[in-house]
């Protein structure tokens, strides 16, 4: 456990000093802040626009960091040969992979927390500067704590994307890993459509294949409650728990797969 924590700490320290990471978080905060200006152009939709843009920015930037940094965690170490010094220390390859994963997850969650703080700061300012009569047109209050549920599920999604990126990077090239990770993200968001494809397509084979893909791919659409919270619709704790539980199981499977592949790999 100690070695895993040390490696995770190393990843965290290295990545919080990475200028690209800083830039991305700064960009997302700027996007949230600028959404305030954009919202001024619309009547009654201001809070919705800010919420939509803020959640999309947190999710998009997080996806970008999880994919590119996740793939770099292993590939960059192998390509640059920094892994040689690490694995000659009392560290197993399993500890290395898990430590790297947890380090990036920690970075992502801290980045997400910063984005949440920036998001609520913008909404707080909007709430402060909006007259009470205009607030009646809002579907949900500006400082709605329900949105934390959407952020929590974005966090779970980013954990899964990171695990996916690491899994692919243990056996394929960085370019292919990026493509495959994005493919999982896209297909994962069409989970329900894949499951119910037989009601749309009149084919024997396609719905069967789609159902197979549905069962293999993570169901990321279950983690997407952004639209619901923006419109003030309730999000049940049970559905959140179920979605999180199935994703954690998927993450565990991906990490076990990553460890098994990486443990047998020659680090040339």
């Amino acid at each position: 456990m100690r070695s895993i924590a040390i490696i995770a700490g190393g990843v965290f320290r290295d990545s919080i000093r990475d200028r690209i990471g800083y830039g991305l978080v700064f960009f997302s905060i700027m996007l949230m802040a600028s959404s305030f200006l954009l919202a001024q152009l619309t009547a009654g939709q201001d809070v919705k626009i800010i919420k939509d843009l803020g959640l999309a920015a947190a999710s998009g930037i997080g996806l970008f960091i999880a994919t590119f940094f996740g793939i770099g965690l292993v590939t960059k170490e192998v390509e640059r040969r920094s892994i040689y010094s690490v694995l000659s220390k009392p560290v197993t390859r399993t500890q290395f992979v898990i430590g790297k994963y947890l380090g990036l997850v920690l970075t992502l969650l801290i980045n997400l927390s910063i984005m949440v703080a920036a998001f609520y700061a913008v909404l707080w300012y909007l709430d402060l500067t909006t007259v009470s009569s205009a607030k009646t047109a809002w579907e949900a209050p500006a400082m709605d704590p329900q949105m934390l549920k959407a952020f929590a599920l974005i966090g779970v999604e980013l954990m899964l994307i990171t695990a996916t990126a690491i899994f692919f990077s243990t056996f394929s090239s960085p370019f292919l890993s990026v493509a495959l990770t994005f493919a999982v993200y896209v297909v994962g968001h069409f989970g329900e459509d894949l499951k119910n494809l037989n009601s749309i397509v009149k084919s024997m084979v396609l719905p069967f294949v789609a159902k197979g893909v549905y069962y293999v791919m993570p169901n990321l659409s279950a983690l997407d409650v952004k639209s619901a919270v923006v419109h003030g619709l309730p999000v049940s704790g049970t559905s959140m728990l179920l979605a999180t539980g199935s994703c954690l199981l998927y993450i565990a499977t991906l990490l076990v797969g990553s460890v098994l592949i990486f443990s047998r790999r020659d680090l040339k």
């Binding site: 040390i6 290295d14 920094s82 010094s85 694995l87 000659s88 220390k89 560290v91 020659d266 680090l267």
Partner: protein, 320 residues
């Protein structure tokens, strides 16, 4: 107990995309290194030195064969606590400082953050990294990264340290400091296994060396054994030697050079035993002035072994 033991260690790689064929990077390497030795692992570029070190660090897996470090199979975490490793052309995390990197590695060995900082500070002093230790590694030159690499290999006071081309990228002062460091390690009983193609380093530091060529062990032994007395013949200086005697003994002499005053310098091939030749010379009226062995340098041995291996490979290829 042997610090390192390999038995038939072999590594094949698949090369070629459409028609993969095996490339033999290391071919049945069997050697042992005793505890406390400074062992030089020599060979030209592409001989298989780094492959061997990677196999010993379990960064790659052998095609066949077996290796042990400090009596345990390679990859054993308990053994990793007792060893250090400097990879060839090391690379570390750009965003960490030298000090942070060493503390990071020290903590992997179970040292507290404070102990790690103390050790890091001492080792960085030893390898000549001064105030730069607080700079991020992205700002370090190649030589400075090499020095940090040496420091990280010693962070746990290892019993056995593997150094892959330790002098690479260092200036003359740095090379001298690393040589002194290796000698200090030897003096405190640490086994040092270092690969290099710089023969002067091996001659200055090693008690034993192995020469690797084209993945095969070409020679192994102490410097004295490899450049052994008489292995290249002898130089015999005689006086009062008649031309007739010289002609008679021509087959047993490689070369004769007149020195003046009736003296000759005779170069004897390794096949001529001086004790058998001298009585014949004396009985022919010659007087022995001096007898000296012709000693080769490590470079001579290295070049001979590497060329012999290449020639052997070529003849096998032609035969097949």
């Amino acid at each position: 107990m042997d610090a390192i033991k390999t038995d038939g260690l072999t590594k094949h790689y698949q090369v070629g995309f459409w028609r993969p064929r095996p490339y033999v990077a290391l071919d049945s390497l069997s050697l042992s290194v005793a505890t406390g030795e400074v062992f030089g692992f020599l060979g030209p570029n592409g001989a298989g030195k780094t492959t061997t070190l990677k196999l010993l660090m379990q960064l790659i897996y052998p095609t066949s064969g077996h290796a042990e470090i400090l009596g345990s199979p390679v990859g054993d975490v308990a053994v990793k606590r007792r060893i250090g490793y400097l990879p060839e052309n090391p690379y570390f995390y750009d965003n960490l400082t030298a000090e942070e990197l060493l503390v990071y590695f020290a903590r992997m060995f179970g040292y507290s953050a404070k102990d790690g900082r103390d050790r890091a500070s001492r080792l960085l002093d030893d390898v000549g990294i001064g105030a730069e230790r607080r700079f991020q590694l992205r700002k370090f030159s190649k030589g400075m990264v090499q020095r940090v690499g040496i420091a990280q290999a010693l962070i746990n006071e290892p019993e056995l340290v593997f150094l892959d081309e330790p002098m690479s990228g260092l200036d003359p002062l740095g090379r001298r400091e690393v040589r002194e460091l290796i000698l200090r390690l030897r003096d405190r009983g640490c086994t040092v296994f270092f690969s290099s193609h710089v023969l002067s380093d091996a001659e200055a530091l090693c008690s034993r060396v192995a020469i690797l060529a084209k993945g095969k062990l070409a020679a192994i032994g102490s410097l004295d054994e490899l450049t052994s007395v008489g292995s290249r013949g002898w130089e015999l200086v005689v006086a009062g030697l008649g031309g007739e005697t010289l002609t008679r003994l021509k087959a047993r002499i490689a070369q004769s050079t007149p020195l003046g005053d009736g003296r000759f310098s005779l170069t004897l091939p390794p096949s001529t035993i001086p004790e058998q030749l001298i009585p014949d010379l004396v009985s022919a009226g010659a007087r022995i002035v001096s007898l000296n062995p012709l000693r080769g340098t490590l470079e001579d041995v290295f070049v001979e072994q590497v060329q012999a291996t290449a020639a052997d490979r070529f003849s096998k290829k032609v035969a097949s």
